[in-house]
């Protein structure tokens, strides 16, 4: 019998970026198939192609042995393929029942909604998976009133209501606690018994070995290995994710970080996306935040900077307790924040380079109303320290290239002499040469005593730059890597680990 799904040689590029060069996947009937790979390895793109939300450039997709096109979500859905969305696809204003059957409403005579049927169908669905859905909500409850884990369950029910034969679960368990994950797995096993196949993406290695029949690993846009999960182990899987090259590419620091009193000490910080994080940062240290994307690293940096304030926890800087409730507090305390989302977070659009550099200094030194012309030399020095290429201080920020804009936003903070620099995936979208300049600058700042917390979505950047890496999983620190363990094997292994 041919596999339910057979994808071979799938390729996809977005502009100049090759998202997928050679994606292959074969899923049997009733099989739970785990798909693994680091950030940007192409697994999400492959899933989207299978679900019809992204069209492939080349490659072959076969369902039950016959070639299919699957160019739109509708086409894939008609073939019995359903994609569970990691980013919630629910409408908060509508009820649970309306959401589950959105676009598939049962209608009676004259095309009117059959409210009773809708309710009955929803109740049946909730009852069938009562062990998971629990009694936490009813068919009529508006989704806006549900907790994140309940929404996740509604999302799962919405997928199941389509009665698909192949379901792609992209991080379906991310918002669930251990007990709910068990219950979710019970559903998967039940579906499996009915012959439904699943593609399961998870960032928890233990879950993968618990539920998956087969494991396919992707790296750099290509499928590199496929194992029966009973015939392999965690180390082998991580090794194939990491590859043979580039295990250790750290550049040693010219000046090691000070071993003196900590510059910054955070204890028990929690917010909506961060769970009980404690860390210390020494003068001149570069502390990396690792792990898969969206595990709370950005939320931690934004919490420190007061943009997403922590609900609990204490912060000390140079031994003094400080309270940061908004970014202005952070700036006055001596924190600087550089985000990779230049357009959204940093640029004063349509304003001059001078103003774009000066804004943070204005806040830090409580200058108001007057543009401080006397600061001009200082700003020019800050820009020059970064090899920024610009026509003049009065030129608009938009006249610069992406990499040079990013330098201006760093110059903004250099001008404030902030002793703590928070870097939130700062090299996103800038070219390689600008990246190299940027890393040299970060090392240089650290050598001069600036303390730096650095989050990067690319592991290689973290490994080459950081003295120490805290690995995040589900909002909490799951491991700390330093010294001999600073390599991609340990980093990947920790990123996929269970929360300690």
């Amino acid at each position: 019998m041919p596999p339910v799904l057979e994808a071979t040689g799938i390729a996809k590029h977005f502009g100049a970026v090759v998202a997928l060069s050679n994606g292959s996947l074969s899923v049997g009937k009733g099989e739970v198939h785990a798909l693994l790979g680091a950030n940007g390895s192409g697994k999400s793109t492959l899933c989207k192609i299978i679900a019809g939300t992204v069209a492939r450039d080349t490659g072959s997709l076969r369902l039950d042995g016959s070639e299919v096109s699957l160019r739109t979500p509708r086409e894939a859905e008609a073939r019995g393929i359903a994609l569970f969305y990691q980013e919630l696809s629910l409408v908060p204003q509508l009820s649970v029942a309306d959401n589950i059957f959105l676009g598939h409403e049962r209608t009676g005579a004259g095309g009117f909604l059959d409210a009773r049927q809708l309710r009955a169908d929803t109740d049946r669905l909730i009852a069938r998976f009562a062990s998971v859905a629990g009694t936490g909500f009813t068919a009529d409850a508006p989704v806006s009133g549900l907790a994140p884990d309940q929404r996740q369950i509604v999302e799962i029910l919405k997928v199941l209501a389509r009665k698909p034969r192949l379901i792609i679960f992209d991080e379906a368990t991310a918002a669930l606690d251990r007990r709910q994950v068990e219950l979710f797995f019970a559903i998967l096993r039940e579906l499996k018994a009915e012959g439904v196949s699943t593609i399961f993406i998870s960032h928890r290695m233990d879950e993968i070995f618990e539920i998956a029949d087969r494991i396919t690993v992707m790296r750099n846009g290509a499928t590199v290995a496929s194992f029966a999960s009973s015939e392999t182990d965690r180390d082998a899987v991580v090794r194939s994710m990491v590859g043979d090259v580039g295990i250790r590419d750290r550049v040693e620091r010219a000046v090691p970080p000070s071993s003196g009193a900590p510059r910054l000490k955070l204890k028990g910080a929690s917010s909506r996306r961060v769970r009980d994080v404690s860390l210390t940062l020494r003068p001149g240290e570069i502390l990396g935040l690792g792990g898969l994307q969206g595990q709370g690293q950005s939320a931690l940096l934004q919490g420190l900077f007061g943009a997403l304030p922590f609900a609990s926890g204490t912060l000390e800087i140079d031994g003094r307790p400080v309270s940061i409730r908004k970014p202005a507090d952070a700036v006055r305390t001596g924190l600087a924040y550089v985000s990779g989302d230049r357009g959204r977070d940093a640029a004063l659009h349509g304003r001059s380079i001078f103003e774009n550099i000066g804004s943070a200094t204005m806040v830090r030194e409580k200058l108001a109303l007057v543009w401080p012309r006397h600061l001009r030399p200082r700003f020019e020095a800050a820009a020059a320290a970064l090899n920024t290429k610009y026509a003049g201080m009065e030129a608009p920020i938009g006249s610069l290239s992406g990499g040079n804009q990013q330098k201006i936003f760093i110059a903004r903070w250099l001008a404030t002499d902030a002793p703590v620099l928070l870097l939130d995936d700062p090299t996103k979208g800038i070219d390689l040469a600008a990246k190299a300049d940027f890393f040299a600058l970060v090392r240089n700042l650290a050598d001069k005593g600036t303390s730096i917390i650095f989050y990067a979505s690319e592991d290689a950047e973290l490994l080459s730059l950081c003295d120490r890496i805290l690995v995040f999983n589900s909002g909490a620190v799951s491991a700390e890597l330093a010294g001999a363990s600073l390599d991609s094997f340990h980093l990947t292994n920790a990123a996929y680990g269970e929360v300690a």
């Binding site: 204003q93 959105l102 009117f112 909604l113």
Partner: protein
Amino acid sequence: MSAVAGFLRSRLWLVTLSALMALFVVNWILQPNLVTPNVLKSNLSVFLPVILVAIGQTYVVLGGDIDLSVGSIVALVNVVTVSVIAALGGGAGGVLGGIAAGLVVGIACGLLNGALVALLRFQAIVTTFATGIIFGGLALMVLPTAGLPVPAEYWRTYGSSPLGLPVVLWVLIAALVIVAVIAGRPFIKHLAAAGGQRAAAFQTGLKLAQIRILAYALCGLFAAFASLCLTGETASGDPLMGRTLALASISAVVLGGTALAGGSGSAFGSVLGALVLGMIGNVIFFAGLPFDYQTLIQGLITLLALAGGVLVARRN
């Protein structure tokens, strides 16, 4: 408290209904002959255009958009209707032809708005502001000055009472039936999804453009209904008719508990909202306050309704 807020949140129109009843009582005290068939009929005749436009506006707002051009659609429909009737030489056939032409114009204006907003992805507020100017200009081209009376058959029928009930009431009943039919169909859920969480609606596979264009077409259709009623009142063409209706309809929609951000609300609520707006005008008039107060108070009440909606939403 939160239970109350939660209950009210999904039934904001209950608040509007209470306000309406309170206003009605005050109005009755100030105007003892309020509850007589003639006074009620003339009140309804005055309120009906706002009610109809507000119903149409609700669908657009529910889908996360807005239509600032409805006032101009009313004017354009009016001048086209009277001109077509005149061109056909009056009579029953002429009147029917004029009404048909008016309805087609209303729907066409809505389709144009919808296409610009949903297909070309122009911003709704700016687009309909601009198309409103265009429709207004077209109305002036069709009929440069007010005048051109409609035949007596038109306004006599509009003022008559078939089966013992006035035509204005029949129109309201017909409008409510259309609202009920729409409210009972999957379309309304799709529209709420499109307005509530557009990305989610897209991922679910809903045809967003089609849904939003249909909402604009409905809005144009209801604006045409309003225009035909106004024509029955004024019995002539007026290219500047209905200028205040766009903002009045948005006030009514907000008062009726529909979120301006889209995703929740109902056309029934907007009917109540339009009635509240009208009753406020009545109360101010019969309390002997200058007319200027009417817009001021209507504005304040709309602001209050917006603030109330935000507060209830925040508490959840």
